[in-house]
Symmetry: none
Subunit: 190 residues, 4 copies
DNA sequence: AATGAATGAGGATTCATTCAT
DNA sequence: GATGAATGAATCCTCATTCAT
């Protein structure tokens, strides 16, 4: 068998390919159940090639986590409820954007938002930011705002998994219903 | 250490001890990061003893998952919203019971409700049962009941982790606030 | 569970039982594929009981080998072709006796004559003794007596396994045919 | 020892080496007494390398058994007693070839013809084929052909072990004497 | 005489990682 | 840029054997 550089190969392309396959496999099988041999096999490359582009398995995984974290926090920080009257509409727009972000890379989201230790930390940060953004605009009287916020975060988390990733609902629908549930109650109990 | 039976040793005691340590370690470090050697070390026993009581690591883990599943579903099936007027109070009582169940064995809950593939399935079952119990009692007009239900489930999931296990809130408080958020809306947006 | 002496139990009985089960299992599965746990399970006893009667697994096995060896060599030494004319009939009687001995304990024979390193040595001894007993009575001219003897031994070995243990032939028949083949040739090749 | 590729190493070479060492060790010590660590030590390699070329110990062993079986049956099937007059000479030639085959790889023969469960099956197949080839050419009158055949097979088995592998006799001599014993009787009993 | 409970010692196997080409 | 070949470092698991009762 010939060794050496493959025809038509380019380092960047191989690296990207490995990353993509890694994201797919990690998201589906998790960190430990995904072997480096699996990743390179999926990319039609060999194990030493992996180490050409990544320090090791853990570092690749951490990179992915970090990548998600940054993109996610960007999205979260972009939430802007403004000073205006249209607070509710704005929030709905922001939620829509967030769901769209999740939907744009479900595999990476699964890794970064559901699979790791850091996921919890990330959700906590999300909660804190959301709390800060909402607490000036919403009257909670004697209710606990943190319970309220955590409920929303939990709802987002679950809906993303069960309705967004399964393509049962669109980002817009989810955001709309969410706003409805948490900010405009009109349920009637018989 | 000499071989053979230890003074004052009893099979049931050892098995229970191993199970307890396993629950603690699995819940803290996860399946793969918990080695059999860790479990037996924590129980002050040796590896062969582990195999005296469990077929292997996976089977022990599956047992724990099953144990949680059974207890959890028992709790869920016990949810009874009755035919009476006091639907809301009853639901609150049921949620309280559920949070109490989670709080009664946080380690096992972490394993069974957050850590495994089966966790997702379990939450889906939870959603379905909840949906069936609620849909006759709540008017959803044109809103999607599944989104509503999944929001509640997500909220329960998140609150258990962030407020119940951290002992920031009591089961009663969480249930009460939850009912408030989802069934008695009085938030005022400025 | 109650411990201690079983009702109706007697040390000798247990020892014999273990020995019998060991012979069966060793002969069927071989030394390594027979676990002490298998033996005691078959005897409906427990592992420590095994060590009450046998030093260890190897020593039990060696005992069995030795037992076979002694009984076998007794039989072999009993071969007596006499000084008389009826040499052939006598030999046939001796072979019959040998086959009967094999048939009387096929399990032990399997262990001692087919399964162990010592089996080979035993067959060599058999060959030597046979050679000594025959060489005075048979004229080999320029043929190699050792080849002749080894052929007989090989035939006995194989026939025991394929025709005696399977009960296809009786010891008498085998001995008779054997004598015929090796000492009274009348085959006609077309 | 440093990790990674050794100087001047080649996969085929290593695999063959491991196979050779395995044959030697298995034939000398048997399956259970030969550890993977022994094999790789003999090949001056490490355990993971073993798994580069073989699925596991059992599969390697089975491969060896199969390899012997195929080569052996090829030899057996090649036996051709023809329609001609020179039946006896032909048979002698065939036996010579068979002994030569055994002598060409005594280690593998020990494994495949003496050591395994499959050995017995193989000898039975040998017997059947031999029976078919001989029964048309030899008049057995009222003697049992199967006893006759099994005697020959047993003789071959034993002579291979005691006279061929020990280099006391050459294939030609053994075949010649064998033919003499079984097909041209001229022993004279005093 | 017999058993429940435990362990020492070792073997098979896996996997991330690295060297030589 | 890429690969073939190899290994260090675990981890799981088994089994004969032994101690306390």
């Amino acid at each position: 068998m010939p060794r050496g550089r493959k025809v038509n190969s380019s380092g960047e392309k191989s690296k990207k390919l490995l990353q993509e396959k890694a994201i797919e496999l990690f998201s589906q099988f998790g960190y430990h159940e995904t072997k480096i041999s699996d990743i390179v096999k999926a990319a039609n490359l060999t194990q030493p090639t992996f180490y050409l582009y990544f320090e090791n398995k853990e570092s690749l995984y951490n990179d992915l986590i970090l990548q998600f974290r940054n993109e996610f926090l960007e999205n979260v920080n972009r939430i802007n409820v403004g000073n205006e009257d249209n607070f509710i509409e704005k929030l709905q727009t922001n939620f829509t954007a967030l769901f769209k972000f999740f939907a744009s890379n479900p595999h990476l989201t699964k890794i970064g938002f559901y699979q790791t230790e850091e996921s919890e930390e990330l959700k906590n940060i999300f909660s804190q930011i959301l709390e800060e953004k909402l607490k000036e605009r919403v009257e909670f009287s004697d209710h606990d705002i943190r319970i309220f916020i955590n409920s929303i975060v939990g709802a987002i988390e679950r809906l993303t998994l069960t309705m967004l990733f399964t393509k049962e609902k669109e980002p817009e629908q989810l955001a709309s219903e969410l706003i409805n549930i948490y900010f405009a109650k009109e349920l009637i109990c018989r």
